[in-house]
Subunit: 201 residues, 2 copies
DNA sequence: CCTACCGATCGGTAGG
DNA sequence: CCTACCGATCGGTAGG
């Protein structure tokens, strides 16, 4: 989907990807509406009209950022979900994968833009994102079902899933990379909050 | 703070309050940056320059909306927190109060703007909000401490509190007034997710 | 990808 | 609270 130009070799830099990355950072920092084309162009040393050589509109840039966020978090969590470990270990690996994408330097701008700026997408792109999100949430629903089956949680209802997604996604608001807690620690603590140890064994 | 004009009687409508309400709704729907002064003025049947008779800037309108949101949720939850019931009943009453403000028609525009648009405040107003929020979160921390003391939860750490606040605040993203679950039902289910019944008695 | 530019719209103000 | 307006800035485009 991102490859309209064939054979982009490694030595010639991919300006389109540069724009997506800069847009993601700015959309995250200032929000979509408060970010101007001139901000984005300046961040990649272009003139203000030049981004439109790569994207047909500002909305199209947002779409690229949001889909990138959806894709990377989806891939990371899907890998954790199919790692073939115990329900509890699988669950914790999924928590870690989700939080890594959300809070880590590699993906946080995309993920945060996905979470907070999707409403500015046009109707068509919004439907695209909703479809992907439904698949993503189904993975989590399955993980909760497995935990319940294993007797590790009492409630695997959709509300329980939304409860968890909220707790996870809200970390964006308070997590600080230079803080006292690592992402892995937070993932472990979140797992403990949901899985009551007295249920084990 | 909102009363610069004295003795606003009931029969003469308070246009300032009208503007705050309209601004709240629009900031919630479209976001602060995407909302124009002309949107707000039009929503209360004014000309585009007139809101500046009541507010010195658009940022000042945002400040009024956000402080209104902070104040109402703070008041509602504080009342629940001091109702003198058992830790568990108090906790559930606090959950209900928070969700009522967040999801109910009376306060949701203010609360949602507080949650999502506060970053657009100037530095000064932002500090104001942070101070109020610290006090608000302290109430929740106390509630968790009480639950732990009563043996109803295993973890009353700050991360547990943030976990809860995230789950609560994320309801804005998925709750639908015409959906199958009432706010009271969601509050009860959230309480059950955190308070393991096997701990009781 | 740059130059040069357009029409539209923005937050805000003077003067009443 | 309206009228009339300002300077700045916006997303986007034509033509190269």
């Amino acid at each position: 989907m991102a490859a309209s130009r064939s054979k982009a070799s490694a030595e010639e830099p991919n300006r389109r990807a540069d724009i997506v990355r800069a847009a993601g950072r700015l959309f995250h920092e200032k929000g979509y509406s408060a970010t101007t084309i001139r901000d984005i162009a300046g961040a990649v040393d272009m003139q203000s009209g030049s981004p439109f050589y790569h994207f047909k509109s500002k909305h199209d840039m947002l779409r690229a950022v949001v889909l990138e966020g959806m894709d990377t978090i989806n891939t990371a969590v899907a890998r954790a979900a199919t790692s073939g470990k115990s329900p509890r270990a699988t669950f914790e690996a999924m928590l870690r994968a989700h939080l890594d994408q959300l809070l880590g330097s590699a993906g946080r701008d995309f993920a945060a833009t996905l979470l907070h700026e999707s409403r500015h997408l046009d109707r068509e792109a919004q439907a695209e994102v909703v479809a992907l999100k439904d698949g993503y949430e189904a993975m989590w629903q399955q993980a909760l079902n497995d935990l319940k089956q294993a007797g590790l949680i009492a409630d695997d209802s959709p509300v329980a899933r939304l409860f968890l997604m909220g707790a996870l996604n809200w970390t964006v608001q308070w997590y600080r990379p230079d803080g006292s807690r690592s992402v892995a620690q937070i993932a472990r603590q979140f797992a403990r909050l949901l899985i009551d140890d007295t249920h084990r064994g």
